[in-house]
């Protein structure tokens, strides 16, 4: 249930933003989930709904929209790009689980599939991001 901690960050950030905008009710929270973090969507959504019930601002039922973002990894040495899903099956389950907790350890456990360099970057699809919120004043 590490997803709970990330869901909590989303709900608190949404409430913080809503309070700044003087909203009385949040009607939509769009969350972008990067492929690299390998979030269990059902658990994450369950945590979001549970957490939404105990906030100082009302959050509408079904306010949460989860959008998965495919990852793009790009090598700084050879310039080639690839997706995490292309390399995931080559990783051990413990390595994959570590990337689930801390996406940046992909640099520790994986190499550029084209030239073998450890010097690549995550250009898309890292982790959980609060994309937008909507509400009423």
């Amino acid at each position: 249930m590490h997803e709970w901690a990330l869901a909590e960050s989303i709900v608190l950030a949404a409430v913080e933003a809503a309070q700044k905008e003087k909203l009385t009710k949040i009607t939509e929270i769009v969350v972008r989930i990067g492929e690299l973090q390998q979030i269990e969507k059902e658990i994450f959504l369950f945590a979001l709904h549970e957490l939404a019930q105990s906030q100082p601002i009302k959050i509408k039922n079904n306010a949460f929209q989860l959008k998965t973002e495919k990852s793009t990894l790009q090598c700084k040495t050879c310039g080639q790009s690839w997706k995490f899903s292309d390399m995931k099956k080559k990783l051990k389950s413990t390595e994959s689980e570590s990337i689930h907790f801390i996406p940046e350890v992909v640099f520790v456990h994986a190499r550029c599939p084209h030239c073998g360099s450890p010097d690549f970057e995550i250009t898309k699809g890292r982790g959980v991001v609060l994309s937008s919120i909507k509400g009423v004043r």
């Binding site: 249930m1 990330l6 913080e16 907790f101 801390i102 940046e104 640099f107 609060l130 994309s131």
Partner: protein, 241 residues
């Protein structure tokens, strides 16, 4: 929008004091002092956490002899306990492999660790900082507002050159500074004490170089009996720790 910053305060709110053990220079004994401080406090009955933020060269786990332990998952990740200390380190996720991280990755890792680690209620969280005034130091200052700094140097002019810069930036940012410990002293000299006092920072004392220390690495029971621990305990009394 970055959501993780919103939850950090909640994760740390039941921690009474957060002490970052830092230095401008590497190899001065920060990890040893951070681990020894955590052991000292734990043995005095305090609830203590130790966060190793040296992401390139984590070493607190080596000093504490922490092997075969892993965090558990409970609404985040719960640090395992080693010798009475709740311990969190990047090493749980890197399996001792090299960690080629760039600056932005470092900040992301620190944010992630702070956002997902469930420390619970602690009297002290000790942070073993990496050397210098780079991303880790700036992120601790940015995200852990109530952190206090305990600075370590050796008697070397070279070390003090870098440590002096760390002190200046901490003073400029008005961070609470517990003082400076002079580690690995081999002869009598007042150079470090004078330099530290010159910038109006508290000089806390010396830890003498101890040839037997290496044999105590990885063995906390032996570590607590070394002269290093004896010197450190005397120093900590000056700051009521």
């Amino acid at each position: 929008m970055e959501p993780r910053t919103s939850v950090i305060g909640k994760r740390l709110k039941n921690i009474k004091r957060i002490i970052a053990v830092a230095s401008g220079k590497g190899g001065v004994g920060k990890s040893l002092i951070a681990s020894s401080l955590a052991l000292h406090l734990a043995r005095n009955g305090y609830r203590v956490g130790l966060l190793d933020l040296d992401l390139y060269g984590p070493s607190s786990h080596i000093i504490l002899g922490a092997s075969d332990i892993v965090p558990t998952e409970e609404k985040g990740i719960v640090p395992p306990t080693v010798h009475g200390i709740s311990f969190m380190s990047i090493v749980f996720f890197t399996e001792e492999k090299p960690s080629p991280f760039r600056g932005a990755d470092i900040s992301n890792i620190i944010l992630e660790l702070l956002a997902i680690t469930q420390w619970g209620a602690l009297d002290f969280l000790i942070i073993d900082m990496p050397p210098g005034i780079g991303d880790e130091t700036l992120d601790v200052i940015r995200y852990i507002k109530n952190s206090e700094f305990l600075v370590v140097t050796t008697p070397s002019k070279v070390a003090m050159g870098a440590v002096g810069k760390l002190l200046k930036i901490l003073i400029e940012l008005k961070k609470p500074l517990l003082g400076v410990i002079e580690n690995m002293t081999m002869k009598s000299s007042s150079f470090i004490e004078e330099e530290v006092k010159r910038v109006n920072v508290r000089y806390l004392g010396k830890i003498r170089f101890d040839e037997t220390l290496e044999d105590a690495i990885g063995k906390p029971d032996r570590l607590t009996k070394t002269n290093v621990m004896k010197n450190l305990t005397e120093i900590l009394q000056h700051i009521a720790l």
